[in-house]
Symmetry: C2
Subunit: 153 residues, 2 copies
């Protein structure tokens, strides 16, 4: 059972309720069907992946033009949320969740900097993703240093 706790791992009781809600604003399509299929390291020369934006939000893409570096936030919907200390299988370490970039965390939000290859209607083409096919998108924004340049639409 991949969700069992390993030796040295520590789980806490989750709060009774959440404090705010997120909208899934699109889906990320990748070639990887399971977590085990995903690349262990982000590959900037990896395959082009499609981020399909929900039509409601499509107009928010105005002014986003390749080439650019963009930050993608997504929800790691398969991850448990209650571990504070982890012993990741692929690494010989025991560490607190905030000292790891593991998907297992109180709020399973991943952040990736990826290369924007193009925008086609409500679909965004990027290179450098590493998540499972169908992962919910929660945000898309210019990489920090390029916010000024990208805003000139």
């Amino acid at each position: 059972m991949s969700d069992d706790i390993r030796p040295h791992e520590i789980a806490v009781a989750l709060p009774d309720r959440t404090d705010a809600g997120v909208y899934f604003i699109g889906r990320i399509r990748t070639p990887w069907k399971t977590r085990d299929d995903c690349p262990r390291r982000v590959d900037p020369d990896g395959p082009i992946c499609r981020i399909e934006i929900d039509p409601r939000w499509a107009e928010a893409l105005r002014g986003l033009e390749a080439p650019a570096e963009v930050q993608v936030l997504y929800w790691m919907h398969q991850a448990r949320r209650d571990l504070v200390v982890q012993a990741p299988r692929r690494r010989g370490v025991i560490a607190g969740t905030f000292a790891l970039r593991s998907p297992v965390r109180p709020n399973p939000i991943a952040s990736s900097m990826v290369a924007l290859v193009g925008v086609d209607g409500a679909t965004v083409l990027v290179r450098g993703m590493d998540c499972v096919d169908g992962t919910p998108l929660i945000d898309l924004k210019p990489a920090p240093s390029k916010a000024g340049a990208l805003a000139h639409s």
Copy 2:
């Protein structure tokens, strides 16, 4: 009214419900009491700010040691969520929300890379924040390139 729509801005109807919930796992204490007080640009030499982690999650700090660069995700609780095209007051541009790093976005999640200055119990000291005092914390993790180094606790 700071929440009014400006000329050229476009709002959409928000979905009826959210798709997932976030926990506020701590609070960020800064010298800035309002959004107008906040620095316009992140200053790596700015004041030391305190991130107060909820006791439930404190053990997740194990292995996080200064000096290091850490990524802080926080919830911009004062921002509206329904604009897809914006005309930010401080800039002479009109752009889609995904081409801006404005706090106004479907999921008001900000991401900052900051310098970890120290960890004192459940309090994390950092330099380089730019948010309002009391902003809810939603995640803390090592900067991408340093995940390996930090994990050795």
